[in-house]
C-alpha cells in the first residue's frame, strides 16, 4: 500500500525547523525531516500532555474528503509549561495550523513545536509569559 496520501498539507520550503531542546534531550530528532517541514491544518482529536513527549493527534482532511490522523510528537510537559502551555491549551475540536517535521518514511507522523503551532488566523495558542 502506498504511504502517499492526498491531504491538505503543503510542503513548506521555508527555513528548516529547529527542534525544541527538551525533545532533543530525550533522543535525537534527526529522524524527522527538519529540512522539509510540512504545514498541516486540521482539528485536534486529542492533546496528550505526557512524558517523555506531549502528543497532538491532528485530523487532517484530504482533498478527496478522506481524513488522516497525524501522530505528532512534541516536547515534554516541563518544557511546554515554561512557554506558558498547559494540558488545556488546545482541546479536542480546536482547529489549528502547525508546521511540523514529518517522518522521513512518509507515514503520517512527525514532530511539532509550540513555536510553529497557531490558530488558523495566525494567533498564537498561548501568549508568551
Amino acid at each position: 500500500m502506498s504511504m502517499k496520501r492526498e491531504f491538505t498539507a503543503a510542503l513548506v520550503g521555508a527555513a528548516a525547523l529547529i527542534a525544541t531542546s527538551a525533545a532533543v534531550a530525550h533522543h535525537s530528532t534527526a529522524m524527522f525531516d527538519q529540512e522539509n517541514p510540512v504545514e498541516l491544518v486540521g482539528v485536534v482529536k486529542e492533546f496528550k500532555f505526557t512524558n517523555p513527549h506531549t502528543f497532538v493527534l491532528l485530523e487532517v482532511k484530504g482533498t478527496d474528503g478522506s481524513a488522516t490522523i497525524w501522530t505528532l510528537e512534541g516536547g515534554t510537559p516541563s518544557s511546554l509549561t515554561r512557554d506558558g502551555w498547559t494540558n488545556k491549551s488546545i482541546k479536542p475540536g480546536d482547529e489549528i495550523k502547525m508546521k511540523i517535521a514529518p517522518l522521513r518514511s512518509g507515514a503520517p507522523g512527525g514532530s511539532w513545536s509550540a513555536e510553529h503551532t497557531h490558530f488558523p488566523d495566525g494567533k498564537p495558542i498561548v501568549l508568551a509569559p
Partner: protein
C-alpha cells in the same frame, strides 16, 4: 530514690547527646544549593567551536551514526527506547535538578526519567568489584578551597558505568568497553550564587585524551512553592526497536516506518494464516 532517678535522667541525656553528635550535620558549612536548578547552553555535549576528541575508530562510528539518523534511524543514541542517559550525559540536566546535601551523601535529584545520583561523601573507597549502572557509582569530597571554614567545591569521581551510552542525542559515542571515568568539580559561581558550575572531565577509550567541558545550571527564581514533576519515559514513548530496526507507534497503536521504503518486522514467531 529521687536522687537515683535524677542521675538516670542525666546519664540518659548524656548518652543521647553523644549519639546525636555522631550524626551532626552543620548545614552552615556547605554552600546553599537549595531550590530548582535548570541546565543552560543547550543539550549538545561538544561546546561551540570545539570538536570532540574522538579516536579515528570512534569518529567513523560517529559519522555512520549521523548518516543513520539522517535516514530516519537513531544511530548510536540509545535513549529513545527509554534507556537512561547515564553518566556523563545526564549532567546536561535536561529537566530540573535538586541538590540535597546530607552528612554522608550529596543527592542530585533529577526530574528527567529519574536519573538521580548519589555522590557518597562518607570517605568510602572503591571496592574491588562494582555492579555497573548507567549512572555509575560516585564518590565525592567537599573541599574548602579558600580556607574560610566553609566548603565550596564538591570533587567527584564516577566509575562503574554500563552501556550503551552516548554523550548526547547526536549519538556522540562512548566506548563499548564502558571503562569510562568521569571527574567533576561542582561549585557556585563566586559572583552569582544562582549559577552553579560543573567542570566535567571524561576519560574514555573512545577519546584521544581526557576531555573537559563546563556545564552550568541556573537556580530558578520563584517565591512560590516548587512542585516537582514526575517524568516517566515509559508513560507515552512511541519509539520502538525490533531487532535492528526502529519504528514509530501511531496514535492507534500500529507500527509506522521511520525510513523510506522500510520493511515491516519479521513475524517468524507468529502463526500466520493465509487470508
Amino acid at each position: 530514690m529521687h536522687y537515683r532517678g535524677l542521675l538516670g535522667v542525666i546519664v540518659t541525656a548524656a548518652a543521647l547527646s553523644a549519639s546525636a553528635g555522631a550524626y551532626a550535620f552543620d548545614e552552615s558549612k556547605y554552600p546553599d544549593l537549595k531550590g530548582m536548578w535548570r541546565g543552560t547552553g543547550g543539550n549538545k555535549w561538544t561546546p561551540a567551536g570545539q570538536k570532540a576528541p574522538l579516536t579515528p575508530e570512534y569518529q567513523a562510528i560517529y559519522e555512520a551514526n549521523l548518516a543513520d539518523q539522517a535516514a530516519g534511524g537513531h544511530g548510536t543514541d540509545p535513549t529513545y527506547t527509554c534507556l537512561p542517559p547515564g553518566m556523563p550525559r545526564q549532567m546536561n540536566v535536561y529537566e530540573p535538578m535538586e541538590v540535597v546535601v546530607t552528612a554522608g551523601t550529596t543527592h542530585l535529584l533529577m526530574e528527567h526519567i529519574h536519573d538521580s545520583r548519589r555522590i557518597y561523601t562518607d570517605g568510602r573507597d572503591w571496592p574491588e568489584e562494582l555492579e555497573t549502572a548507567f549512572r555509575g557509582h560516585s564518590i565525592g569530597k567537599w573541599i574548602d578551597e579558600d580556607g574560610d571554614g566553609r566548603y565550596d567545591v564538591l570533587e567527584v569521581e564516577t566509575r562503574g558505568m554500563k552501556g550503551p551510552r552516548s554523550f548526547d542525542s547526536t549519538g556522540l559515542p562512548l566506548h563499548e568497553d564502558n571503562q569510562t571515568i568521569v571527574k567533576e568539580r561542582i561549585y557556585l559561581d563566586k559572583a552569582n550564587p544562582n549559577l552553579l558550575h560543573n567542570e566535567i572531565t571524561t576519560i574514555d577509550h573512545a577519546l584521544t585524551r581526557p576531555w573537559t567541558v563546563m556545564k552550568n545550571y541556573r537556580r530558578a527564581q520563584t517565591k512560590e512553592p516548587i512542585w516537582w514533576r514526575e517524568s516517566i519515559c515509559a508513560e507515552n514513548n512511541p519509539h520502538v526497536r525490533i531487532g535492528k530496526d526502529d519504528y514509530f507507534v501511531s496514535f492507534d497503536g500500529y507500527l509506522m516506518p521511520v525510513r523510506k521504503d522500510q520493511a515491516p518486522p519479521d513475524l517468524k514467531y507468529f502463526k500466520q494464516t493465509r487470508k
